[in-house]
Symmetry: C2
Subunit: 251 residues, 2 copies
């Protein structure tokens, strides 16, 4: 049975402030919850699940019964952040990634991505193409918001994502070339060959900030011949990443 | 001033049944509303806007004052389908496209796309790459839902989108090759050259239906080396479209 204080606790985790204070985030649905339970980057804190889910996942539920709370569909609705709650809602510690140098290939730099669905999709797309690290401007939406987690799926524990001042970050790494995606750059034609680079993706409506664009060694545009003014930020990220060929995987 | 019957009318347009009965849809925000007002594919039916928007758009508002209703932010909140209402909400007739043969280049076939944001983003991406027509399975989400319109933006009047039985549609066009995007097809490497083709995009979690996949002459996969199980449907669509080179634009 779910008690009132638990409902309040879960609801508070809809706010970044409380997620940060507790160092946790919420994931919902059998697919992502079971993927996260198998990850060594996060730890399960609480799990609220239907009887059906619990009986199918005895291997987890029996290990530490105090962590698992049986709920019915109605109770799940009260704590869910999704329009259609799905069997299980779990609270995990935020993932911890070991300190590491900037990896070979592309490191994505996200400038003020504001839509949670876009950030989640970018994370999942980056993971598909083997990107290991994403660096976000401080005003990019929080990666642990419920909608981001939902669209990122298990990629949230496979791709490291940090928030910082992008200009300082770029300037601190003068040896790594910065490529920017803009609406007036050189047409992206064929593969881009590189060994290590930053790829800068701009805000959904304003694009890349000028003070960052000035630091780029190359600016690319995705050629289009239709009527749309711009591409969705996640779609543009996917198209760029699909065209990148990493020359030398050794560091 | 907004009256109660108008509030009820707008709210009813959140449901496909009522949109279909009235032959209209809702668009919100200055950008898309002004784009649609300039289109010859749709007609404005009602417009609810703040005083600020009305005074900046006198050229429209003065042409038929009965169509324009002044509202304040609070009233706009009551009728808006968005979390953050933005100055103007307008009702338009659904776009009418002249009957035309299947165009050169790619015609997108969407198999059971369920997420409104994905459908809108696919529409916008198709528009960017000059795709003129999209054919959806009957169970694909309605293109005139508020979230689809929001993510499609003005592309909703530039790309024709129809709903039908995809199998019948493919079989009725035996001269047009069907390419399918699948997780186990041939790796997409370099450009695909074609003069006219159908490109089939599958459902977000189940992919392309088997009975449709069997009709494909080629099946492509986007090569990835990371951990994500799949790509978002709109991102995959964008990557495929970016790799298509139309050989012969004459019909």
């Amino acid at each position: 049975m779910l008690v009132k204080s638990q409902v309040k606790y879960i609801q508070s985790l809809g706010h970044k402030k409380f997620r940060d204070a507790e160092g946790v985030f919420v994931a919902e649905g059998p697919k992502i919850v079971s993927e996260l339970m198998q990850s060594d980057k996060v730890k399960l804190v609480h799990c609220f699940a239907t009887e059906g889910w619990l009986s199918e996942n005895m291997q987890y539920a029996s290990s530490d019964p105090a962590m698992f709370v049986k709920t019915d569909e109605k109770q799940l609705e009260r704590i869910s952040f999704h329009p259609t709650p799905n069997q299980v809602l779990a609270v995990f510690t935020k993932p911890v990634f070991p300190a590491s140098p900037i990896p070979a290939g592309v490191t994505l730099l996200l400038d003020t991505i504001q839509d949670p669905g876009n950030l989640g999709t970018i994370l999942r797309t980056a993971d598909w193409f083997g990107v290991q690290k994403i660096v976000c401007s401080a005003n990019t939406t929080d990666v642990f918001g419920p909608k981001v987690v939902q669209s990122a799926m298990g990629s949230i524990v496979r791709v490291e994502l940090i928030y910082t001042d992008l200009q300082e970050y770029i300037v601190a790494h003068p040896d790594i070339p910065l490529y920017a995606t803009t609406l007036d750059g050189e047409d992206l034609q064929g593969k881009i060959h590189l060994s290590k680079a930053f790829l800068l993706i701009g805000n959904e409506s304003r694009g890349v900030s000028q003070h960052l664009e000035r630091l780029a060694v190359k600016r690319f545009r995705i050629p289009g011949k239709g009527g749309a003014e711009s591409l969705n930020a996640a779609v543009a990220t996917g198209i760029f990443l699909s065209q990148i060929e990493v020359l030398n995987q050794t560091r």
